[in-house]
Point group: C2
Chain length 407, copies 2
C-alpha cells in the first residue's frame, strides 16, 4: 500500500535538513536533491506509476499512457532556498501523490493520462536562476545560457547535472513532451496571509506578479580600516546601504516589493575597507510599469549615492519574468469544481512568487491552488501550514483532477 | 651567501597569492602560511641563525645566545588579511634579515643577542582576533579564550595549530621568553600618507590609536521576498544599512574611523528576506574617550533603527586594544640614532593600525619604524612602497640595531 500523506511527509522531512537552522538546503543536483529524487521514484514505484526523467532533469510519474496526450499533470518541486521551509514545493508533490490515492479510493477512473511532476531547480538557489527545469523545457532558458550559469564553486548547471548522473547533452526545448500536457495544475503553500484572513483553506491563483533579479556591483577601493581617513575612502558599503534604504522606501510607496537578501563582500575582512559589495535586488510589482519605475528609481539612487562616495556601480539584469495571467477559463473551472464539493468560499488571489506554473502557462493551460499559511512566512524554517489545511488541499486537488481527468 | 633584500622579496612574492585578485590570502595555520614559515626557517638557516618556534607558534631566529638576555629583537608578521598587499608584515621580516646582513657588511659586532621574529596570526583574518600570537605570549589572550576562537569552518585556533603540526597544548603566557627581550623594534610599511607629504622615507611611531572590533547581530525573520509586504517584514538589512550610514557620519565628524568591512547574511538567498545580518564594526580614534563616544553613538543608532524595523540587535565586543604610547625614551633614541646618520628629518607619527609591537609594548620597551607608502593604500593588492624607500628602511633598521646592540 502506498504511503499516506502523513507517511510521505515524514519520509521527506529529514532529507537535506540543516540540523543547526532546522531549514532545508536541498539545492539542485546536490546529494540532498538526489535523496529527494529517489523518494519521488519510490513513490511512483509504490503506485505502479511509470517514472521517467526528461531531457532537462524533471521527473514525471505517469498513470496511463503519456503518448495518448491531453494529460492532466500536477506537481511542483522538491528543491529549496537556503534554509527554506518544508512546504514550499514538497507540499505540491506530496499532495499530488496523495490526490491520486484519493481518486483511487473514490473509485474515480481517469479517462486521460495523469502525471505527477517534480520540476528540477525551481528555486535557483545554486545557479541564480529560478525555474531552470521548466524554463529549459519551455525554451525560455537556452542551453547556451544554462551552460553559462555557475554556482559559487564555478560549476556550471550542465556540469552539475552530469556529476549527478544526468546526461546534460540534450538539455533544451522539449515541445514534444509539453505537447502531451493538456493542463497543468500546481498546488503550493500560500506565501502570504491572504487566505488566513478568510474561512477558506484553499484558494485559486489569478496571476503572478512580474518579477526579476538585478545584480548591483558596487566597486570601490579596498584599504586599511584603521589608517584610511573617512574622507579618503572609496568605500562601496555606504553606497550599498543608502541604496537598500531607497529601495525599501520606494517599494513601500508603490505597494511593491524590493529586497536585498543576498550579498557578497570583498575582501570581507574586519579591518579592511571593502573593495566590492555585490548585492542582488529581487523586485516585484503588480504590473510591469510599476516594476520598471521601481527598479529605475532604485538604480538612480544607487548611481547617485555611488557618485557621492566615489565608487562605481554596475547593474546586471539576471532574470525577468513578465506578468502571468493564468488561463481564465481553467481558473473559473477550478473554482466551479471546488464550489460544487466544498462548503467554503474559493478565493481567487494573485501572488508575488514565481512558480514553474508561471513558466508553463506560456505553453499549456495552467492553474494553481494555494493552501492556507497561518503566518504567511515562507522561505524560512518557520514556514508552516496546518495539517487540516494540507488535507483540505489534497481533497481540493483530487476534486480538480477528478473533474478534469475523469469526465 | 644569504639572499639579498630583492631576492628575499622575490622568493616571498608568489606565496599565498590569489591569481585572480593579485592579493594575498596568507591566513594563519593554512598551507600558504606554512610556506611563509618555511621561507623564514630557510632565511635563518642561510645566516646560521638558530631558528625556534615558541609555545604560541611565533618563529624566532637568533644571533647569539638567547639565554644571555637583554636581546634586541626585530621583525613583524608574514600572514595577511584577505586579498592583502605584499608589504604589510613581510616588509618588516625581510628588512630584519636584510638589516642583519647590513650590520655584518658594516663589520658591526653585536654585544647583545639579536633576534628576528615572525609573529603568528597578526591579522586575525581567520579567527577574528588580531595579534593572536603576541597576545598569547603576553598573556592578554588566554588559552581558554583562544580555544573558543573559531574560523568559518568551525575549526578552533588550537585545532588549526595542531593540524599545522604545532603542539597547541602549551599555548599561553610566555613570560620567560619575553623576559629575554630587552627591546623590540618593528619596521612596517606606513598605512597612511603622512610620510608621503614629507621628504622622509622613514618615520618613528609615537602611538597606536585605541581600537576594537564589535560584532552586530541584526536578527529579523526570514521570509519570501516576493510575497511578504514591506510593512509586514522584520528585515534586518535596512537596520544594518542605516547603521552603516550613521557610523560613517559619526566617524567623519569625530576625525575617527568606523568601518563595516565584514558581513554575513542568512540565508543569503536572492528571493529571501534575510533572517540575520551579522556585521563587524572596526572602530578607532585618537583617544579612548572619543572611541567610546563613537561606538556608543553607533550602538544607539543600531538600536533605534532596529526597533523601527521590528528586528533585534545584539552587540558583542570581540576585541579592544587601549591606546599604546611607545616608550618615549626608546622613541627619542631611535630618532637620535637616525638623525646622526641620515640626511632626512625623522618624523614622529601616530597610527590607527594595530601591531604586535602594540601588544609587546605592555611588556618590554618597544618602538616602530614606518616606511613611506606613496598612496597610503594598505590591506589591498594595490598596497605599495618604493624600492628606494624599502632600502632606506633597511638602512634605518640597521642603524637602530647597531646603535642598540653594538654599543
Amino acid at each position: 500500500m502506498p504511503s499516506s500523506f502523513q507517511e510521505m511527509w515524514a519520509e521527506l522531512l529529514p532529507l537535506g535538513r540543516d540540523p543547526g537552522s532546522g531549514g532545508y538546503r536541498r539545492f539542485a543536483w546536490t546529494p540532498a536533491d538526489a535523496e529527494c529524487r529517489a523518494w519521488f521514484r519510490a513513490q511512483a514505484a509504490a503506485r505502479g506509476l511509470a517514472c521517467e526523467v526528461d531531457r532537462n532533469g524533471n521527473q514525471w510519474a505517469w498513470l496511463g499512457d503519456p503518448a495518448a496526450g491531453d494529460a492532466v499533470v500536477t506537481g511542483s518541486h522538491l528543491d529549496s532556498v537556503p534554509d527554506g521551509g518544508a512546504f514550499d514545493g514538497p507540499l505540491g508533490v506530496v499532495s499530488a501523490f496523495a490526490a491520486l490515492d484519493e481518486l483511487r479510493s473514490r473509485g474515480a477512473r481517469p479517462s486521460r493520462p495523469v502525471a505527477v511532476v517534480n520540476f528540477g531547480d525551481e528555486e535557483g538557489a545554486r545557479f541564480g536562476l529560478a525555474c531552470a527545469g521548466s524554463r529549459l523545457a519551455a525554451g525560455v532558458l537556452t542551453p547556451e545560457r544554462a551552460a553559462a550559469l555557475r554556482d559559487a564553486d564555478g560549476v556550471s548547471l550542465p556540469q552539475a547535472m552530469e556529476r549527478a548522473g544526468h546526461d546534460a547533452e540534450a538539455i533544451g526545448p522539449d515541445d514534444e513532451r509539453l505537447a502531451r500536457v493538456g493542463v497543468f495544475v500546481e498546488l503550493h503553500v500560500e506565501q502570504g496571509r491572504h487566505l488566513e484572513d478568510t474561512a477558506s483553506p484553499v484558494g485559486v491563483a489569478s496571476s503572478i506578479w512580474p518579477h526579476g533579479r538585478w545584480r548591483f556591483d558596487f566597486r570601490g577601493e579596498a584599504n586599511h580600516a584603521g589608517t584610511t581617513r573617512m574622507g579618503d575612502r572609496h568605500d562601496p558599503m555606504p553606497a550599498f546601504a543608502a541604496t537598500v534604504l531607497a529601495a525599501r522606501e520606494r517599494a513601500a510607496a508603490a505597494g511593491a516589493r524590493a529586497t536585498f537578501g543576498k550579498l557578497g563582500v570583498l575582501p570581507n575582512g574586519v579591518n579592511a575597507v571593502p573593495g566590492l559589495v555585490r548585492a542582488w535586488l529581487d523586485a516585484r510589482a503588480a504590473d510591469e510599469d510599476t516594476l520598471g519605475a521601481l527598479v529605475g528609481a532604485i538604480e538612480r539612487a544607487a548611481r547617485e549615492h555611488s557618485a557621492a562616495e566615489g565608487v562605481q556601480v554596475a547593474l546586471t539584469r539576471e532574470s525577468f519574468t513578465p506578468v502571468v495571467d493564468f488561463a481564465p477559463a481553467l481558473r473559473d473551472e477550478l473554482v466551479r469544481l471546488l464550489a460544487a464539493r466544498r462548503a467554503y468560499e474559493v478565493p481567487v488571489l494573485p501572488t508575488g512568487a514565481g512558480h514553474d506554473a508561471g513558466i508553463l502557462a506560456a505553453k499549456v493551460p495552467t492553474a494553481m491552488l494555494f493552501v492556507r499559511n497561518p503566518t504567511g512566512v515562507s522561505h524560512s524554517p518557520a514556514e508552516h501550514a496546518r495539517e487540516d489545511d494540507c488535507v483540505a488541499g489534497v481533497e481540493a486537488l483530487a476534486d480538480v483532477l477528478e473533474g478534469l481527468a475523469c469526465r
